[in-house]
Structures are given as C-alpha cells and as structure tokens.
C-alpha cells in the first residue's frame, strides 16, 4: 500500500474531493465566454482548499515550503501580469514545464524516501514513480525547448540531423531498460532511476527540436497532456485521489486538443511529431522557383478597396501576432464599421502558435468574440465577401491544399479566401512560409499584395480610409 494511506486525516480527503468537484465545474463553465471567468475562480478556490488542507496536516520544513511558495507565487503572478498577449504561448509552455518538473521531482522524492530507509518499493510505487518521473522530465525539457523556440531565443524552424529518429529510439529504449531495472528492484536501482531521469530530460529536448513553426500548437497541446499524465501518476505514487482526478482531466484535455489540431492540419499526430515537414521541404522549394506574377499595391489602394466594400473578412495568422497588429486591425474595423461595412474575422484552428491563439489576441484588442468565426462557419461566407484581408496567414489560405494533389499540405482544411471577390494579402515579403510551400493564391488575378510589417501596413490603410 502506498505510504500516504496511513494518513488518518479523513477531513483532508473530503477537502480533496471538494477540490476535484471545483475543477470539474471550473472546466464546465469554460463552455461559454460568459461563465468562463467564474469557472476559473471556482477552480482557483478548489486549488486553495487543497493546498490549505495539505498544509494543515502536520507538515515540517515550514520555512522551506513557505518561502518556496512565496517566491513561486511572486514570480508566477508578476510574469503572468506582465507578459504580452502575443507571448502567451511561451508563457503557457513555461508554466507547463514547471508542473512537469515538479511531478518528476515528487516521484523522485517518494522513491528516494523508500531507498533512504533501506526499503524496497512495491511494484505499484516503483512503476508509477517511473511513469511520473519519465513523463514529467520529458514534459519539463520539451516545454523549455518549446519556450526557447517561441521566444525566438533559438530558431523556430525544425532542427534536424541524420539519424535523429535512431538516436531518439535508442534513448527511449535506454529509458525502458532502466524502468525495468527499477521495477525489478535490481541492485543499485537508484542509479538506474537517475539514468532514466537524465535520459528522459534528453529525450524531451530532442523530440521537440525537429518540430517547429506552424506545428507548435500540436506540441504545446501534447506537452500539456503529458504534464497531466505525470501529475496523475504522482497521484498513484502518493495514493492521492485529487492528483489522479486532476491529472486525468488535464491529460484528457491536452489529448483532445492535440487530436483537434492534428485534424485541422489533416495530419496524424505521429506525422507532426516525427517531422514530416522537414522531409518535404526540398521538393517544395523547387516548386516555388517558378516565375511569380504578383500584383503589389499601396496602402491607399487597399484603403479605397475596403472603403467601397459591403462585407470584409479579416483572416489573421501568426504574422499578426509577430507584428502585434491586432489593435490596428481593430481600429481599421472600427473605421469600416462607421461606414456601414460589415467586418468579420475568420479563424483557422491552427492559426498562430497555440490552439485559439488568434482569438485571444483579438479579444485583447477588444474585438467582440461574436465577430470571430470558425472555419466551418465562415467558409460559405467568402463567396459573398467583397474583400478578404489576409494578415500574416499563409498555409491556412493556400488553395493548393484543396486542389493540388502534389502539394505537401493537400487535404488540409483551409479558409477559402480565394472565393472572395477580392483578396488582399499583407505579408512581410515574398519569402515562403514556415513550410516552404508555394501559395498559388498570390498569383491569382484577384489577389493584391501589400508588402511590409503588418502593423505599419494596417496603420497606413487606416490613415487611407480616414482620408477618404
């Protein structure tokens, strides 16, 4: 039986049950933006109950725990308050990594406690401790790499080298061997534990390295799910139901989002994880070498186009986040709405670097969420739109995904911007997107291009619209 079962505090278990219920209601209330804030607060109250109940049951090392809590709270709250909305994916990644690291250390602590007392852990404890340590360490290291990529400390592009999969497979095998040694209570099992922990850390780094750019939403969701599973397995180690339930909720959520993101790209999750985009790049680059026939226009031309439209659909992408153009877009929409022009926003599920990234940025700019439309809702609408304004989105608007069987993204559901009467693409340059895939939309006779920083371009259009 796990050690925690000897704790006679049944009141604590009741508190944990209340916490679990709070978490479920918290997530339940996320089903509508109207109740979502209440949900988050219910969830936070649940967390408070669990932490207070835990602290109340005869804890020693008060100074260590109190100071660590205070420092963690201070860093967490201040950085969460200060972070820009565009930097949200990396913030979520780092908090996720912290949780994964904590889960790995909790498992390590329980095992060390048993070994320290010259005891032999039960199979249950050793197996679940390994699960927690391995997944937690992978999540911790993977999240750090995801953070560094998103923060652009290191390149956001996939990093590949020959034999990558072989190296990863070898490390995974080593982890499994050590896992077996620990569970089998081999002599010096503790050494195998440390080797497995270090190897998991390395695997976490190596498995995120070849994933980049537009695939980030998948990885972020997956790492979220990993930390959930790691937290749940610490629940098995400690015999603590609230950890099991909460971990299961998070694991389910992360898995669901991962699958949704994969579907939105028409790629299996394994395909994303094992870097298929890296492999297709050379062929796609060759295709892009053909002569382009693009029309470049000025901000004033775009302003005139928009000002005489009846309906405009804005298609934001990662370029909007990079340029921090969401506030300018909002201002443009205000100006157009003043002229009686209808403005809608089309959000592709994988636009940006995490699920729902564009929605948060536009919400930050005070765009009502009722104007934001999912791909399935908005696609029939493009035929009626006078102008589709593409701001820093590329692959999710590529008609080749619909028509060109040879395209690497063939079959990926896209926003049908090419069905609009006119298309305006705001882009930094003609350089191809993350995936290096040619976009025939740019050669379409009804497409015009406005090159430059998205925010400056839109500010220019706003000035143009005002002058008309």
């Amino acid at each position: 039986m796990p050690a925690a079962d000897t704790t006679p505090a049944s009141l604590v278990d009741v508190a944990y049950l209340v916490t679990a219920i709070c978490f479920i209601f918290g997530l339940r209330y996320l089903s509508s933006p109207k109740t979502a804030r209440l949900g988050n607060r219910i969830s936070a109250v649940g967390m408070l109950i669990a932490v207070v109940a835990t602290l109340a049951q005869g804890i020693v090392n008060w100074w260590v725990i109190g100071s660590a809590l205070a420092v963690g709270a201070a860093i967490g709250i201040v950085s969460a308050q200060r972070v820009k909305m565009t930097a949200m994916p990396q913030m979520v990644a780092i908090f996720n990594g912290a949780g994964g690291g904590a889960a790995a250390l909790v498992a390590a602590g329980e095992l060390l406690k048993v070994y320290g007392a010259n005891g032999t852990p039960t199979y249950d404890v050793s197996f679940t401790s390994m699960l927690s340590a391995v997944i937690g360490a992978i999540s911790f290291a993977g999240s750090i790499i995801a953070f560094l990529k998103l923060q652009e400390v290191m390149t956001g592009r996939p990093i590949t080298y020959p034999g990558q999969q072989v190296v990863n497979a070898a490390i995974a095998l080593a982890i499994l061997v050590c896992w077996g040694m620990v569970v089998a209570n081999a002599p010096n099992a503790i050494d195998y534990f440390w080797v497995a922990l270090a190897a998991s850390f390395a695997l976490g780094i190596l498995f995120v390295l070849p994933i980049g750019g537009a695939d980030m939403p998948v990885v972020i969701s997956l790492l979220n799910s990993f930390t959930g599973v790691a937290a749940a397995s610490t629940g098995f180690v400690l015999g603590n139901n609230v950890l099991i339930i909460s971990g299961a909720l998070v694991g389910a959520s992360g898995t669901l989002l991962t699958v949704l993101m994969g579907k939105a790209m028409n790629r299996s999750v394994t395909n994303v994880l094992f870097g298929a985009f890296g492999a297709v790049k050379p062929a796609a680059a060759g295709a892009a070498a053909k002569t382009r026939n693009v029309r470049s226009v000025s901000a004033d031309d775009v302003a005139a186009m928009l000002a005489y439209a009846n309906e405009v659909i804005v298609v934001p992408g990662y370029g909007m986040a990079v340029a921090q153009a969401q506030h300018s877009i909002r201002e443009l929409a205000d100006q157009l709405e003043k002229k009686g022009i209808e403005v809608k926003y089309a959000i592709h599920p994988v636009a940006g670097r995490m699920p729902g990234h564009m929605n948060v940025l536009l919400a930050e700019a005070n765009v009502p969420y009722t104007s934001l439309h999912d791909m399935d809702d908005i696609n029939p609408e493009f035929e009626r739109a006078d102008v589709a304004l593409v701001v820093g989105a590329n692959d999710v608007t590529n008609p080749a995904a619909r028509e060109d069987k040879d395209s690497p993204i063939y079959g990926m559901p896209i926003l049908n911007v090419d069905k609009a009467h006119n298309v305006v693409v705001l882009k930094r340059s003609m350089a191809s997107g993350f995936a290096g895939i040619d976009n025939p939309l740019y050669d379409d006779p009804k497409t015009v291009m406005l090159f430059g920083d998205a925010k400056k371009s839109i500010d220019g259009i706003v000035a143009g619209v005002k002058a008309l």
Partner: protein, 104 residues
Amino acid sequence: MTAHLLTELTIFILAVFVGLEVISKVPTTLHTPLMSATNAIHGIVLVGAILVAGAADAPFVPVIGFVLVLLASLNVFGGYTVTERMLQMFRPRPQAPKPPADQP
C-alpha cells in the same frame, strides 16, 4: 497490481471520460484559456510537492525541496493569473471603446 492501484486506475479512467465530456463542450474561441486553465489545474501537483518536501523524513536536502515547491507554486499562481487575464478580455460587446494601444 494491488487492489488499491486498481481502484485508483478506475478513478483515473472515469475522470478521463469526465474530462473528455466537459472539454468537448469548450468552444474553439476559448481554446487558449482552456489550455491555460488546465495548465493551472495540473498545478495541483503542488499538493504532492508539499507532501514530499514537508514530510518529516523528507529524502531531499532542503534546496531540492525548495526547488520542487517553487516549480509547482510557479505553475499554480502563474497559471491562474494568466487565465484570469485572458478571460477578462473576452467580451460579447465592448463596453467603452478604448484607444487601441492602451493595453500592454
């Protein structure tokens, strides 16, 4: 496998189904806050962190116990603050139109 672990596995699996059920109702517009909210929830590992670092027979030197609780605490407080900040931006209709570059 002990009967105890089997009971815990049962709880785990039922919780997974509850999670899938509840989360499939979350609209895509709230997917980032959802990630952040679930992120905060796995901060519950703080409970485990306190139990391990605060046990009388804690196997760690205090420094590791400190790092452990610090990581989990960062996860909890950061997670809830970020989620709250995001959610307060979602409005059906903006109240007072603000100047666009108002927020950080």
